[in-house]
Symmetry: C2
Subunit: 391 residues, 2 copies
Amino acid sequence: MDEIRRSKLISTYRDGLLEDTLPFWIKHCVDREHGGFMMSLDRDGTVIDTDKGVWQQGRFTWLLGELYNNVEQRPEWLELAKHGAQFLDDHCFDPRDGRMWFHVTRDGKPIRKRRYAFSESFAAIAFGELAKATGDQRYAERAKRTFQRFIDHNLDPQGTDPKFTDTRPLRGLGFPMITIATAQELRESIDLPEANEWIDRSIDDIRQFHLKEDIQCVMETVGSSGEIIDHFDGRTLNPGHAIEGAWFIMLEGKLRGDGELIRTGCQMLDWMWQRGWDPQNGGMLYFVDVNGLPVQEYWHDMKFWWPQNESIIATLCASLLTSDPKYERWHRMIHDWTYSHFPDADHGEWFGYLHRDGSLSSTLKGNFWKGPFHLPRMQLVCWQLLAESSE
Amino acid sequence: MDEIRRSKLISTYRDGLLEDTLPFWIKHCVDREHGGFMMSLDRDGTVIDTDKGVWQQGRFTWLLGELYNNVEQRPEWLELAKHGAQFLDDHCFDPRDGRMWFHVTRDGKPIRKRRYAFSESFAAIAFGELAKATGDQRYAERAKRTFQRFIDHNLDPQGTDPKFTDTRPLRGLGFPMITIATAQELRESIDLPEANEWIDRSIDDIRQFHLKEDIQCVMETVGSSGEIIDHFDGRTLNPGHAIEGAWFIMLEGKLRGDGELIRTGCQMLDWMWQRGWDPQNGGMLYFVDVNGLPVQEYWHDMKFWWPQNESIIATLCASLLTSDPKYERWHRMIHDWTYSHFPDADHGEWFGYLHRDGSLSSTLKGNFWKGPFHLPRMQLVCWQLLAESSE
């Protein structure tokens, strides 16, 4: 990558993060009356639903702590991270079983708990950053305990009706992937003792059960022994999700100096780029069928913001780690397509939901799934990777 | 409506039903090996998922019985209806609690049960038609018992974790609407003694809780006292669904000679046509927000087949019952838009899923939701209404 493009990209990512994404959210989402963050925003930042998604409370708290610990010790960021952690503590755990809610009212009354436990993974990394930022061991204990709850519930769910019978047990890519990212964060923030063990175990699971060399594919959902399930659920691929997993593994390889891990991550990217890139309109499709058959999910061919974010990170990461010009080309393709369709020139930040052809489907800036997470994480990780590589 | 258009429409609906829709499904979905029907078909009728949705088993069985009882006593239709009922009996009830499954394997092993009980409503009307067709009282008993299970579980769910806490109790349009249609069918097929009582009660509930004169709207989901809930779920309207309810109530008014019911149904249609018709591209949108805000569901602006089917029935029904020329105009708009976008000229039957602009999103002809139900019901009801009106 030439120096001019590198420096232009750094400023795109860094300035986008610090002067657009972050100010947009800080200005509009902080709830000074009831604590926490209201993330359901229309394009101009108007709150259109005061309910609070618990994932988002943890994710924004994590981001603020991550920025404080790694970018600059701005008191505002630390204050807001504590504000988020306080709401998590006060309202997001069910005292009856210690599990976390998924959806609460503005003032923290519970609306919904899910069968799975991803609220816990995001809260854990939020508490971890606060432990590092403040040196307060109570945050570190909270982070460890919440990580353990995430692990325990996913391995052996208690107190919830299973969604499916045991006729056809399935294994999803989500749990090992999120475990890698969560353990990576907690290793960095609180030096979690079992982090490497969980990362190794999760990468092994992905390699053993989800990577299919013969068909060049990362399967999102497989049978309990990794067999391909020839039904809608089993055939449905989520290329953006697999590509997110790819860069988690590449970065692990980079950190450990392990070329095998980098090759695994690049292989996942190679396979899923081929399957997910939309040759007709550009951008990454949401779902595709492993055999090219129709997908049952209605939004399969829409362009969501986050698969583009993950693909931008993964292609940049692969480009910098391998110097293979293919990855620089891919990074340019996905970066340019994404930046020409998602940013909102009028009100800042990005739209989240486009039709296949790139036209706008919804003006929503945030909801239970879109918030200050994938976009600012992409901006931060890409800025960091480029800055390191030019040192 | 002039006689030429009427007779052209009759042949469109009747011939579409008898020469296109029905042969497509009979040719492709009948499972002679394991019983029941495989409905997950690609555009040419290829089975792409052998799993069986229980709703669809009941719905197609009902349709076959309905045609046998009301159109022509074709032995093939009766044989296939019995074939469907046999699979329902053999594999679709959970012996542990008497509730029905939602999703089973090709050979009838259970995969999933839902928290709600709509499998029961469709199975009940299927058994009802078979009772009428065969005179066999065992089918009638089965119909009554299954209807009672549908009612009981919806009023007082047992043995399922509720999806939400009791912080914000909600009331949906689905239960009273499906209760009306189910009771109407069972009144006709087995003369269900409590049918009128359930229909009256359900119409009262819809009037009391869901119809909002002041804002000219049918609310899909309200609080337990009918209050509007100013959050995503509460603001989300489903115009095609409300319009389906509108024609159930119009037909009840027609049957009883009750002008008030006809006016209620027309009012529901008037309000929701204004909210659901897409002035930009034509056709009925899937979801819209009561205040014009963004909707959270990703497929909100797609054009699904069934809201168009329901709108075709409701506008025709209103036109024939009131002679208001507005309804004939609306019927022409929705009929013409739908027939110019959904039918598959190459392989017959209709596509189910279009983008907002009418372009194809998926080639699927069937899945757990699309099968031989909304389209053939529209063809049958519209044919019958037009034929009666020209007598």
